[in-house]
């Protein structure tokens, strides 16, 4: 490494150029961008960067994962818990292609990531060289932006643009592919200047006051207004602004699984979860309300059900930072383009202070029916095998809703999102849009690194856990403290549920066998326990939470429980079934 790179970065104009390798310039850039943690896996084409990293061990904490997919999910978990940009390193070829699932996940869930991939020497591009893959073209559909660097001189600007693009506007994953020659090449490094402007890129649409006024007028005239909020509130750090808005206007509000936690679970205006396995009231009332106010959400098909029977009676106000989301699925009456951190306070100012007591009461009535038909039995069963819901409920009581809950994908995810209690934002981390099984374990590792002072609990099914369980090795080596609950129903439960309900119980390849998870954990030096009896549940959860270090708790739950309520695919949200 060059003599010194200390403090080379503050004022580039005044800075004398120093000779650096492309790799060292990259790491200097990361430090200026405030990066403290990198999730990665070395390989041939990224070796020069790893060689430079050897001298930056004090400043950059590199977590060696066990698979690049684990690396990128960890980066996502980190980004989601910290609000910062997750950084991931991978080598060329298979290293890079292993990132694709995570990129697609981050793209659809708007997670800010900067992924650095090594690439073969520039002169070998297009020759089918060893571990050469056309990473830029493979990742184009699943990145917000990507760029190939073939000359070290391009590195500072490419990295600056990458961070700027990843975190601004609607956040998303960015991939920078750096050929090996550019990593090695020495150049005159003139300091690193973060990017704050790209002339063809407008991160936030201009806020237009007339639309705020029109929206406010609709809200003020509404008798049955209903707010749907999504992750945009969290990504925009607009939780307070959001709460102030719904409190002043007195509007019942329901969340998507990406938005949960923006306001506390027991906030009186929080009426629950939207969508296929959401709460009864919010789904039914979507087709009863007169004004629907969607904030930072994108009307996913799992939220809307059948579109031509979705909220047709309502005037729709849509607040979103991404103009491409407006009218994409649901036709809006008033579109409020902009960052909700800016638009919500303007809207709050313009709306009248109101309480929609009777209207809110209707939600409570539906909640009561749902309690009787579904929730009581799920959370407080007296006999029989344990249910997923009661595990989550017991966990709530022990964490008081202060833990970060990371869920995988499937039945346990729906149960986890429905019943986990959250007192603070950035607490629910799940693969929402892509539904990536295997997400939770690595994402929980990343989430812990992004929020070291918080308890991180990963709730995972027996199927999903087996997709990325190699990341137990990452836990072992990094010593990160993650609590793992495996809800084991000996089935690929969600597919089994659909096969039961819609395929005449033809259980086609959903019967999955598992290893002794506690023994597997033990092999990685991770403490664990497997329980099958209700009597052990509370004390075991307590033991898990109090344990110094990571802990795996496997809970045998009933095999053939179904998640209800449910809006069957192709049905209207009004057709939600309680059983």
């Amino acid at each position: 490494m060059e003599a010194t790179q200390q403090d080379v970065l503050t004022a580039p104009e005044e800075q004398e150029a120093i000779e650096l390798s492309g790799s060292a310039a990259l790491l200097e850039a990361l430090i200026v961008e405030g990066v403290d943690t990198i999730f990665g896996y070395p390989g041939g084409a990224i070796m020069p960067i790893y060689d430079a990293l050897y001298d930056y061990k004090e400043k950059l904490n590199h977590i060696l994962v066990r698979h690049e997919q684990g690396g990128i999910h960890a980066g996502q978990g980190y980004a989601r818990s910290s609000g910062k940009v997750g950084v991931v390193f991978a080598t060329s070829g298979p290293g890079a292609t292993n990132l694709v699932t995570g990129l697609a996940d981050a793209q659809i869930d708007s997670t800010p990531l900067v992924c650095i991939t090594g690439q073969v020497f520039a002169h070998l591009l297009g020759t089918d060289a060893f571990q050469e893959t056309d990473v830029i073209n493979i990742t184009t559909p699943v990145t917000k932006w990507n760029f190939q660097v073939t000359d070290a001189e391009q590195i500072p600007e490419a990295i600056a643009k990458a961070f700027y693009i990843a975190r601004t506007g609607r956040p998303g994953p960015v991939l920078i592919d750096i050929t090996k020659n550019a990593q090695i090449q020495k150049f005159q490094f003139k300091g690193y200047q973060p990017c704050n402007h790209i002339r063809s890129y407008r991160p936030k649409p201009i806020v237009r006051p007339q639309f705020i006024e029109q929206a406010a007028q609709l809200i003020n005239e509404a008798k049955k207004p209903f707010v749907l909020w999504g992750q945009g509130v969290i990504l925009g750090s607009a939780e307070k602004e959001f709460q102030a808005f719904i409190e002043k206007a007195g509007i019942p509000s329901a969340w998507t699984i990406m938005g949960v936690g923006a306001i506390p679970t027991d906030h009186p205006l929080n009426v629950g979860m939207l969508g296929m396995h959401g709460n009864y009231g919010p789904n039914v009332m979507t087709n009863e309300c007169d004004v629907l106010i969607a904030i930072g959400m994108r009307f996913d098909d799992r939220v809307t059900g059948r579109l031509d029977k979705y909220a047709k009676q309502a005037k729709v106000i849509h607040l979103d930072i991404d103009p491409a989301e407006i009218d994409k699925n649901v036709q809006t009456t008033v579109a409020v383009w902009g960052d909700c951190k800016e638009t919500l306070p303007l809207l709050t100012q313009a709306v009248e202070e109101k309480q929609h007591t009777e209207w809110l009461q209707k939600f409570h009535e539906f909640a009561q029916r749902e309690n009787e038909a579904v929730i009581d039995a799920e959370l407080h069963p007296q006999t029989g095998e344990m249910t997923m819901g009661e595990v989550v409920d017991q966990l709530n009581q022990l964490t008081n809703g202060d833990a970060i809950v990371v869920t995988d994908v499937g039945q346990h995810q729906m149960v986890g999102c429905r019943y986990a209690k959250f007192n603070q934002t950035r607490s629910n981390i799940t693969s929402g849009g892509l539904g990536t099984m295997g997400f939770a374990l690595p994402a929980a590792i990343g989430a812990k690194f992004g929020a070291l002072d918080r308890t991180v609990v990963a709730i995972i099914g027996d199927g999903g856990f087996q997709m990325t369980l190699q990341e137990l090795g990452t836990i072992m080596q990094s010593g990160v403290n993650v609590k793992i609950i495996i809800l084991n129903n000996r089935f690929l439960g969600m597919v089994r549920q659909w096969q039961e309900l819609f395929n005449e119980r033809r259980y086609s390849f959903v019967d999955i066998q598992s290893p002794d998870f506690v023994q597997v954990a033990k092999g990685y030096g991770i403490a664990g326990k497997c329980i099958k009896e209700r009597e052990e549940l509370q004390s075991s959860l307590q033991e898990m939470l109090e344990h110094q270090g990571s802990y795996l708790l496997e809970v045998f739950v009933t095999k053939e429980n179904n998640v209800f309520p449910m809006v069957p695919q192709g049905c209207s949200v009004s057709e939600i079934r309680l059983k």
Binding site: I136, N137, T140, P141, K144, W145, N146, F147, Q148, I165, N196, H197, I198, R199, S200, Y201, R202, D322, P323, A324, I326, D327, K328
Partner: protein, 204 residues
């Protein structure tokens, strides 16, 4: 499914005009927005605009306006895309150019060249002993028509360009592009009094 559902509902030709930065990979980024939705690109022309470093794409698709509107928003969302417009054929003046290579002896013997040229608004670009290359510019029917005319005379090769289009209602496009270039110069323009105005984003 009834036949009605199979019928393309309200599909027509739309001309999508895209102003972009000159960036490797951007063509692919734009193209996959169509292919992902299984939309066929009928015609694609991309070339530098009148402003150095800004490129202009003309894309023709046969789709409903609703789909075209959504697609244009997705295109405009790409980082290096400056601006996107869409227009029906009625909103634009458009042209395609075609070249026809025909054996010289057949033309000379069997068809009076002069009449062919006149009737089809074509001109001879190259006249050689062995072949003649004609060129014509016009709408699809017009360039198609000359194929039909020349086919009996031993047409050797034919090629047609992508569509280029001028937007009827494009008042001030050039002026706005020029202003934008002044305020936000491309990398090629190094010395510029407006270089420090970094807060402007391109709008038209």
């Amino acid at each position: 499914m009834s036949t009605q559902e199979n019928m393309p509902q309200g599909k027509q030709e739309f001309n999508i005009t895209v102003y972009t930065e000159n960036q490797i990979g951007l063509l692919n980024r734009i193209a996959i927005i169509f292919t992902r939705r299984k939309i066929n690109i009928e015609s694609l022309n991309t070339s530098p605009s009148e402003i150095e470093s800004i490129y202009r794409f003309n894309i023709v698709v046969n789709e409903t306006e609703d789909v075209v509107r959504k697609v244009t928003r997705q295109i405009e969302k790409q980082i290096e895309v400056l601006k996107v417009y869409y227009h029906t054929n009625a909103d634009i003046i458009w042209q395609e150019m075609a070249l026809y290579k025909v054996p010289a002896d057949v033309i000379a013997e069997k068809a009076p060249v002069e009449r062919l040229l006149r009737e089809n608004g074509a001109r001879a670009v190259v006249i050689r002993k062995d072949y003649i290359v004609f060129e014509t510019t016009g709408h699809r029917e017009e360039t198609d028509n000359l194929i039909k005319v020349l086919q009996p005379y031993g047409l050797i090769e034919f090629v047609r360009s992508a569509r280029i289009a001028i937007i009827k209602d494009s008042e001030g496009f050039n002026r706005k592009l020029r202003e934008f270039e002044r305020e936000q110069p491309g990398e090629e323009v190094s010395e510029n009094e407006y270089l420090n105005q970094r807060d402007k984003v391109f709008t038209m």
